[in-house]
Amino acid sequence: MEKLNRSLPPHFKTIEHVDIPKSKQEVLSNQIPVHIIAGGSQDVLKIEMIFNAGLWYQKSPLISGTCNSMLNEGSEKYSAAELAEKFDFYGAYITYNNSQHDASVCLYTLNKYLNETLDLLEQIIKYPTFPEKEFKTILSNKKQDFLVNREKTNALAKEKFNALIYGATHPYANVFEAKVFDEVKLDDIKEFYKNFYTSDNCRIIVSGKMDETVLPKIESRFGASAWQTKTSGIEPEHKLISSNEKKSFVLKKDAVQSSIRIGRPLFNKTHPDFAGIMLLNLVLGGYFGSRLMQNIREDKGYTYGINSVLLSHLESGHFAIITEVGTDVCEAAISEIYKEIDRLKEELVPEDELNLVKNFFAGEMLRSFDSPFALSESLRGNLLFGFDNSYYERFLQDIKATTSQKIMELANTYFQKEDLYEVIVGENKA
């Protein structure tokens, strides 16, 4: 047998193309669009009902989220306890998602109980009753979660950072005080439901094991007629206001680590520079091999983890470096972060590193599109922007075409120190 050379990596293939299964679009009789992603080895389905009913549409904090999470707290036919009992009996899971623009109710069910669980879904979507007692319990529990969360340095850092770059009351920051929990009125929740959880404000994504019986079952519960119509012209207006204050320190007594956020408001994924920025973000802090992780964790040992993220909102977005470091090394960590940013502005990313990052990213795409459920997750995000998952095929090509020169240009355009916001939460200033 040939002697094994363990120093030499085996041959490998570069992923040139990611095959993203296409979604199919159907329309129910009442014009609700249904996007279908068929596949998977298990007899399970995910049915997500999505409404334009996120934070964007509420006139004061907590309305849209409370409305969303109260849908299963009682319906015309069943009490909250009965609904819970039935979902549990059929082994179904139901999740509630409330984001900046959309809000959704998502049913995970075994195919064999689809009829039963869809009946329940119909109850909570079309006939919720919003009982007073459940309302009080939910708000009181949410308030406690909120106050526990505010004991965490990273939660405080996120809040402060978002407030600086978007403006505290903007839905993208959504910053408010605990007393708001005591001010929310049940009538506002009911009104919000009436205005936004309507058939003309709805889209559905179905993913998992499909056959010809699934769609008619959805049609009979949600498609046969219009159920409620949207009231138009009541959407609040929101203005993005980035603060002039670029540096902020928030005191958290006795914290043994400081949370750091450094970043800036930025464009979203429809911008022509987005692929380039994505690659730049990966190189800097977007994966375990990134420069920030290698320098600040793997070389200096200042932190358990550091990463950078790009977030795309419909009307804006941001870039942020996020970490928690020992109080004693906070200043040193910040200095290293800026060093890494400067390096991107001054030196071309070496070809080897660039190729590695591109290959890693292609692998990430394979991983993130690995199941019908995962595909439905990205489709939900894309539908908001008006496109489907084929977006990612173009995007991967754009990533592959990005050069080191381009990355350096982008770093110089977007990462000037005076444009960056810096938030520290901890026992003392760096």
Binding site: F12, G40, F87, G289
Partner: protein
């Protein structure tokens, strides 16, 4: 039904292949039969620290992550009190890269001072981040030694204290490696878009030449039976009081495990469960509360943890929990309720089989505690449980003299 092929290399490495062609990826999962319970009580946190060092370069490959990322792969690892698990996923075409990397670090690590120094610092930051810089973060550092007086489950995987991590020496690291990391102390599971013949060829090629090692025999002290109620009061800067109750129970592969698991489900799985309905919805005593099992390989814990609603007295909250527990002991659950939690279990198993990586980890765990084939008997074992079994388990486990309670008080402002 999860199908797989199984074979053992001459050096004792068990290899299991599960084919799932619905994915373009492949997973390589290696489970080493070594966890925090195998540590010296004076050097705790070592198994977990060691997991970090496994990424610090191996004997022939200076950097573990780079070549993996180069081929579109990703990886991670976790350490529990029982085992240490390493996993990676790659595009199926690049499976061999996974074998190359994993086999080299099973062969030997680079063992550099630099890597040890840095990872000690990283783990100390991890310690701070998860245990000291989070509200309620230190609960398990106190609950474990309350519940276990002899058994090594009395410390967390992160370790008893930061000093133990700071004191780790390179010689200890080397000894640990050669006495626990070996082909004859591991299970390799390859899942995803793979062929058994190819996996066999790659396993022989890369892992075959690694020699067997002498494994330090496991000789764990037995935890004496608890005979009286234990309690501990802590006061911390947190917004609300919380209560944690731990009851001794059987190990993961004991036949009673399935009974106790369903008992915990009746109490706390889903919004229709007894604890959720009674203590959160009806009585508003807790803002959140859960009952769950640690699922350890040695006799483990049945845990109840809850955060009290503002203004509720600790004694009242505790009594209300006991009322629910006493009820499952006193009265049999009805058949419908049992069927409901069995349905939930079956459903959660179906959902857990969507991910090829998840399946690889589950197969590996079954192989190391018994045999991989058992993974397909889970539903049957749950289905056999009767309402009488639930009552019997409640009467045996959920009693005062088997309970350790941690009262976590919010410091008065």
């Amino acid at each position: 039904m999860i199908e797989f092929d199984k074979f053992t290399l001459d050096n004792g490495l068990k290899v299991i292949v599960h084919r799932d062609t619905s994915t373009p990826l492949a997973a390589v999962n290696i489970l080493y039969n070594i966890g925090a319970k195998d540590e010296n009580p004076e050097q705790t946190g070592f198994a977990h620290l060691f997991e970090h060092l496994m990424f610090g370069g191996s004997i022939n490959i200076p950097n573990y992550d780079e070549p993996l990322q180069q081929v579109g792969g990703d990886n991670n690892a976790w350490t529990s009190n029982d085992v240490t698990n390493y996993y990676l996923t790659v595009p199926k075409e690049n499976l061999e890269t996974g074998f190359w990397l994993e086999s080299d670090r099973m062969l030997s690590l680079a063992f550099t001072e630099k890597s040890l120094d840095v990872q000690k610092a990283v783990v100390i930051e991890e310690f701070k981040q998860h245990y000291f810089n989070q509200p309620y973060g230190d609960v398990w550092l106190h609950l474990r030694p309350l519940a276990y007086k002899k058994h090594p489950y009395q410390w967390s995987t992160i370790g008893k204290c930061i000093e133990h991590i700071a004191d780790a020496q390179l010689q200890d690291v080397k000894d640990f490696f050669f006495h626990h990391y070996a082909p004859n102390n591991a299970v390799l599971v390859v899942s995803g878009h793979v062929e058994t013949e190819e996996v066999k060829r790659l396993a022989e090629k890369w892992f075959g030449p690694i020699e067997r090692r002498e494994i330090t025999p496991r000789n764990l002290p037995t935890e004496p039976k608890q005979t009286e109620f234990r309690s501990l009061h802590l006061e911390r800067e947190v917004p609300y009081d919380a209560i944690y109750m731990a009851f001794h129970m059987c190990s993961r592969n004991h036949e009673d495990f399935y009974k106790v698991d369903l008992l915990s489900d009746i109490l706390s799985n889903g919004q229709s469960s007894r604890i959720f309905q009674t203590l959160i919805k009806e009585k508003n005593l807790f803002s959140s509360i859960d009952a769950y099992l640690t699922g350890d390989f040695e006799p483990g814990l049945f845990v109840i943890s809850g955060k009290l609603t503002q203004g509720v007295n600790m004694m009242d909250a505790e009594k209300a929990i006991w009322d629910v527990l006493d009820e499952v002991s006193a009265t049999k659950a009805n058949e419908y309720e049992l069927q409901k939690v069995k349905n939930k279990i079956e459903s959660s198993l179906v959902f857990s089989e969507i991910s090829f990586l998840n399946k690889a980890m589950n197969i590996a765990q079954h192989e190391i505690t018994g045999q991989a084939e058992d993974i397909n008997l889970e539903v049957e074992k749950y289905n056999k449980v009767s309402t009488a079994d639930l009552q019997e388990m409640a009467q045996k486990i959920l009693i005062k003299e088997n309970c350790s309670t941690l009262y976590y008080h919010a410091k008065k402002q």
